[in-house]
């Protein structure tokens, strides 16, 4: 059964497909924060994320008629946002793999800033999440911030469901490894 929010989104998209700018504005206000934060993870630059997020909604205005309702509007939207963000990242050749992220983390592990963070486990954990590779960060964000299911993440990221599960698992392991380097044993795995 569809949630009220999902139904409202579908009604808004139908109106947008008919050129209704007011409906577009309402849809924008409902989803702009999630889209902005999602693309920001990829491009790591606020001005670029702002431009990209707005461009995503312009695409929605022009392509709302193509939305078929097979997935939630928010899932469709994040899929579009991801495509745009990855294109931008490729354009800027700003790729970071997991090892690089860990190396980067090691490089500044002994700075005074990190020493302060050691006193605050929660803060340290946030710092570690920020240092995850974009692929690992994506699956963590989609799960915990966007509240997406395995199937929805599979659709958004264009990867098999099993890959979604293993990617989340590896992201968690990566977090534990980073925390351990900061002297915090999470007791897992």
């Amino acid at each position: 059964m569809q949630s009220a929010e999902t139904v409202e989104d579908e009604i808004l998209l139908a109106r947008i497909a008919g050129g209704d700018k007011e409906a577009m504005h309402v849809f924008y206000r409902r989803h702009r924060l999630a889209v902005y934060r999602f693309v920001l993870r990829f491009v790591r630059d606020e001005a670029t994320a702002e431009d990209l997020a707005n461009d995503v909604f312009i695409d929605v205005y022009r392509q709302a008629g193509r939305f078929e309702g097979r997935s939630k509007a928010s899932t469709w939207l994040l899929g579009m946002a991801r495509f745009k963000a990855l294109s931008e990242r490729r354009r800027r050749k700003d790729t970071v793999d997991a090892d690089e992220a860990l190396n980067e983390f090691e490089d500044d592990a002994d700075t005074p800033e990190v020493s302060v963070q050691k006193q605050d486990k929660a803060l340290a954990l946030r710092r570690c999440i920020e240092k995850l590779s974009p692929e690992h960060r994506e699956v963590i964000d989609l799960t915990f911030y966007h509240g997406k299911s395995i199937k929805e993440i599979s659709e958004i990221a264009g990867i098999p469901e099993n890959t979604v599960k293993t990617r989340a698992f590896h992201a968690r392991r990566q977090l534990s490894a980073m925390m351990e380097k900061m002297g915090i044993d999470r007791g897992w795995p």
Binding site: R32, I58, R126, Y145, K148
Partner: protein, 230 residues
């Protein structure tokens, strides 16, 4: 001691993030809930996942929307809508789809004009066309006035009879299209001043000028004014 096999445990471990975010299917969630009380490692993993969730949400909250974002979007939306409308209009023009232009014109008229405004527009159109028709007739000379209607209606690009018509307020575009199709006619120009359109029959149409004029006048629901066109 956990009653789970290693494989079952690994499977549940992989699914746990979605138990935490509430999207895990009922069956898997029930299996996990049954295993948790007897498996301290799994319970520890769950507690860590909740910490991860909390940290992820806290991190997201740190990123606020740029102040200018919404205003910039609205400006971009207006520009996009205007650009799309322009592109659509150009496309219609390029296709020579005068019928589409007629549809737009009828729609705009119906939406914008009050009955009084429509009446005023109609009178203005009549006056304008009367002058235009007078000029045409005078140019054609006496033969035109003597019933040479096909001559008076002029020869268009295809050589068929041409009429100036004013569509009736509320005329249905699909009914107009059907009429044109059934009579081998087409709209070749318009909207002209006064909301007139130029309508042309095929050169091969065997009907005489008076007959064609009568065909048009017999459709008052479509045409409120029919005049010979040039």
């Amino acid at each position: 001691m956990s009653p789970l096999t290693k494989r079952e445990r690994e499977e549940l471990e992989l699914l746990m993030p979605w138990y935490v975010n509430g999207t895990l299917d009922r069956e898997s969630a029930a299996r996990l809930e049954a295993a948790l009380p007897t498996d301290p490692a799994l319970a520890r993993s769950l507690a860590i996942l909740r910490e991860d969730q909390e940290a992820t949400l806290a991190l997201a909250e740190e990123d606020e929307l740029p102040a200018s974002m919404e205003q910039r979007f609205l400006a971009q939306l207006e520009a996009t809508a205007a650009q799309d409308a322009q592109t659509a209009a150009r496309g219609a023009g390029a296709q020579g789809s005068l019928l589409a232009r007629l549809g737009t014109w009828l729609g705009e008229l119906a939406a914008a004009a009050s009955p009084r405004a429509l009446a005023v527009a109609t009178v203005a159109a009549c006056l304008l066309v009367a002058v235009q028709a007078g000029v045409i007739v005078s140019m054609l000379g006496p033969s035109a006035e003597q019933g040479g209607f096909s001559t008076a209606s002029g020869e268009g690009e295809q050589g068929g009879a041409v009429y100036l018509v004013q569509f009736a307020p509320g005329a249905d575009l699909s009914a107009i299209a059907t009429f044109l199709d059934e009579n081998g006619a087409r709209i070749v120009d318009g909207p002209l001043p006064g909301g007139m359109f130029k309508l042309q029959f095929k050169a091969t149409d065997g009907r005489g000028g008076e007959e064609l004029s009568a065909v048009l006048r017999a459709q008052p629901q479509l045409f409120q004014l029919v005049l010979p066109g040039g």
